[in-house]
Symmetry: C2
């Protein structure tokens, strides 16, 4: 039954014990131990180029668009006027690429802690790193946690594109981080954070949503399909300082032509709404009213 052979990358992690996704590799393009993590870029056989941090798949060329479009447009389209956006993490550039597409966004500040993730992306992942050089983007190498301590009342939307809640990224899921984001936001501001998968780690999701709820009057969780993430999904926690925000109903809806022009392949207003429809067992655990569309 053991058909794994040399030449495959396998993602093994304590967050999803007893199950692992493997991709066949043509060659290794980049491999470096930075101050923060192991960085690996490989060319896969069937999924294009792939970025791996500390052994965990961050994105593949074939399916990264569903993640990047969603983490960008779910919060942006929930805000009536998202002019000034802060991205924490996201060093590959994919999130900046999508945020920059939104016509209402005027300025994007991005704070990535690891300069070698930026290097790896610029060298080998141009389809994402193109976002880093967008004229709207002010890219800074530093600690997002520290950055926000020095910035208050400044951003309309804060997007956290982080690793999973183990190791160096743990602090990005805690209550203190949601407090910092709250003070860095302007009135009515909105946050969106990568928050793991409900099928594998419902306890983590529940804790992160609870931390968000303790700091934001409106908070929710939604799910998006990303085949090369564990369980084939990723979830996002969203919070708003505007008590009239209804995350499941976007305030900005683009036409099909506008979406085509922006080269959007996954997101639409309907995909936005559907992302907040949770399976019963998830809705019950998170104490979210399941009757979203009725």
């Amino acid at each position: 039954m053991d058909v794994q052979k040399k030449g495959w990358f396998s993602e093994v992690h304590d967050l999803w014990p007893g199950i692992t996704l493997s991709l066949e590799i043509n060659n290794v393009l980049y491999k470096r131990r930075s101050k923060y993590q192991d960085i690996l870029v490989v060319e896969t056989k069937a999924h294009g180029k792939m970025l791996v941090l500390d052994g965990v798949i961050q994105c593949t060329e074939r399916d990264e668009f569903s993640y990047q479009e969603s983490i960008a447009f779910l919060p942006l389209c929930s805000h009536p006027n998202p002019e000034n956006v802060l991205i924490i993490g996201g060093g590959d550039g994919g999130v900046a690429r999508e945020v920059a597409k939104h016509p209402g966004v005027k300025r994007i500040t991005q704070v990535e802690i690891d300069e070698y993730v930026l290097e790896a992306a610029r060298l080998h992942l141009p389809f994402m790193s193109i976002g880093l050089s967008d004229p709207k983007v002010d890219l800074q190498v530093g600690d997002g946690f520290q950055y926000m301590k020095n910035h208050t009342n400044e951003f309309d939307v804060i997007i956290t594109d982080s690793c999973d809640p183990v190791g160096p990224a743990t602090c990005l899921f805690e209550e203190s981080y949601f407090r910092l984001m709250r003070t860095a936001l302007k009135p009515g501001g909105i946050i969106c954070s990568q928050s793991g998968t409900a099928w594998a780690n419902l306890d983590h999701v529940s804790q992160t949503l609870s931390n968000c709820r303790s700091m934001f009057p409106v908070a929710s969780y939604c799910i998006v399909s990303v085949p090369t993430y564990p369980t084939g999904q990723i979830g996002f926690v969203l919070g708003s300082l505007n008590t009239s925000t209804d995350f499941k109903e976007p305030v900005q809806k683009f036409s099909e032509k506008e979406l085509d022009d922006m080269k959007i392949r996954y997101y639409s207003a309907d995909v936005h709404r559907a992302a907040f429809v949770l399976p019963r067992f998830v809705a019950k655990e998170l104490l979210i009213d399941n009757k979203i569309l009725s």
Copy 2:
């Protein structure tokens, strides 16, 4: 990078080249080559018991409910009075278990071709095979294709719970099969067939939907989350002889209490609606209007 070890089952298949899901195995419970296929039941380390046919994961104890509930309730709740149901395949019993829960269903005929799948399920997968002994179920061992040739104008709903469109199940995705189902249905009848995953095999999905469209005046495709299926999803093609059927709006909606009483963990009316919201790249390929909920 090759961390796969002995004691893991890896699902390798030409339908999803270059990528494979592996589950750690505690022990093998059943292993037999039948006339039709290799049948394997194993106890996994983290996903309970797992049924594998010809090397392809059919279901794990941990996540099978989303598949079974969906393939049952999506068509049943699209029909105003689904009294008489035919299940083709589904030898593990999980689909029958869910169909039998629907209070409007009076009679379930199930035709499974492989008696040893039934044996494996009865011996080792009681949480699913319980469906086979439901008093509503008339279980027959035989070829569903042949069965339908002898039955016309008989069923309200036909559910096809088959393997993937390679090998012996290929015929269950072809136009001739949809023609047979059309004649086996009563007026206004509805069909639902397992139809693969859009991320990995959009060409197959498109062909199956096209075959359905050629025989049914109303046809659609929807997507459901199943973490241990390739890309973490499975899709269903649905067809209706009732030209007023709108698959994205269930005609039967159960209350939260009714769903609780039926021990439904995934499906709800909102999950039903959201299942028909397709990512843009899928909707475009399948020529389905993306504006479903607007």
